[in-house]
C-alpha cells in the first residue's frame, strides 16, 4: 500500500478526531465554511471560538514549518485564484457547507442534504477538472 494512502488515511482520522472533539466539547459542527463566514457574527461570545478554531488551523502550519516541512505551491494565475476563491466563497455560502461541513460532518450524521451537496460538488469538481485538462491544463 503506497505510503501516501496511509498518510492520507491517518490525516483523515485526525480530521475526524478534530470534528469529534469540537462536537464533544463545544457542541459545534465542524463546517469550516460556516465557521469562517460567521467569524464576525453576533457577540464576542459567539465568534471567539470561531476565531480560535481558525487560529488553530493557521498555527498547525507554523508548527509543521518549524519542523522543516514546506509546501511547494504550484504556479497559478492571479485571475484563476480570485475566480476560484469567489466560487468557493459564494458556493459554500449558498450551499451552507463545504467538504468538512457536508462531506464529513453531514455524511456522518446521515444527512440527505449533505449527500446531495457532496455528490454535487464532487461531480462539479471532476467535470471542471476534465474541462481544464481538455483546455490544456497540466
Amino acid at each position: 500500500m503506497p505510503e501516501q494512502f496511509i498518510n492520507g488515511f491517518l490525516g483523515g482520522v485526525l480530521i475526524g478526531l478534530a470534528a469529534v472533539i469540537l462536537f464533544l466539547t463545544d457542541g459545534r459542527i465542524m463546517g469550516v465554511s460556516g465557521i469562517v463566514s460567521r467569524l464576525c457574527q453576533g457577540t464576542i461570545i459567539d465568534w471567539a471560538w470561531r476565531l480560535a478554531f481558525v487560529a488553530g488551523l493557521m498555527v498547525s502550519a507554523r508548527v509543521f514549518h518549524y519542523y522543516g516541512f514546506r509546501i511547494d505551491y504550484p504556479q497559478a494565475s492571479l485571475g484563476v485564484l480570485i475566480v476560484a476563491g469567489l466560487c468557493v466563497g459564494m458556493g459554500t455560502a449558498l450551499a451552507n457547507g463545504c467538504t468538512s461541513g457536508h462531506g464529513i460532518c453531514g455524511l456522518a450524521r446521515f444527512s440527505k442534504r449533505s449527500l446531495v451537496a457532496v455528490i454535487s460538488f464532487m461531480l462539479a469538481g471532476m467535470v471542471t477538472m476534465l474541462l481544464m485538462r481538455l483546455g490544456g491544463w497540466q
Binding site: G11, D26, F64, S120, R133
Partner: protein, 135 residues
C-alpha cells in the same frame, strides 16, 4: 475553556490536512482528475475522516447529554434540498477544482504564508460576504 478546545480542534484538523497532503492543491486536483491521472489518496482521507466522525458522533449522541463546555449541541435541522444547495455545491466544486483549495486548506495555507492561499482566502471572504449581502 470552549475557546481553548476550539483552538485544539483547529490545530488537529490542520495537522490532519497537512499529513493527508490535502493542503497541496496538486493532490486535490489529482483526486478530482478522475478522467485523467486519478490520484486516489484523498479517498483514504475521506474514509478515515468519515469513519472516525461517524463513530464519534454515534457515541456522543448516545451517551453524552450536553457538550462539555457548552449549553447544547448544534443540531442542524434543515432538510430542504433546493436550488441553493445544489447550485451552491456545484459552484463550490468548480472553485475547488480551479485552484485546488477548499476553505480549511486555504486557511492552513495562509498559516504557511503562501500568497496563493491568501488570495484565495480574500476572494472567498468576498464571495461569502456577497451572498450574505444579497440574502
Amino acid at each position: 475553556m470552549n475557546i481553548l478546545w476550539a483552538f485544539i480542534a483547529g490545530l488537529i484538523m490542520g495537522m490532519g490536512l497537512i499529513i493527508a497532503d490535502m493542503v497541496n492543491p496538486l493532490r486535490v486536483q489529482g483526486f478530482l482528475d478522475i478522467f485523467g491521472l486519478f490520484d486516489p489518496s484523498l479517498v483514504f482521507t475521506m474514509a478515515g475522516a468519515l469513519m472516525t466522525t461517524m463513530v464519534g458522533y454515534y457515541f456522543i449522541r448516545k451517551y453524552v447529554k450536553k457538550p462539555l463546555c457548552e449549553v447544547s449541541f448544534d443540531n442542524p435541522s434543515n432538510t430542504v434540498i433546493d436550488k441553493k444547495l445544489i447550485g451552491g455545491s456545484i459552484l463550490f466544486g468548480i472553485g475547488w477544482a480551479l485552484a485546488g483549495f477548499c476553505p480549511a486548506p486555504a486557511l492552513v495555507g495562509v498559516g504557511f504564508f503562501a500568497q496563493q492561499a491568501m488570495v484565495v482566502v480574500m476572494a472567498m471572504l468576498l464571495g461569502m460576504w456577497f451572498i450574505k449581502k444579497i440574502n
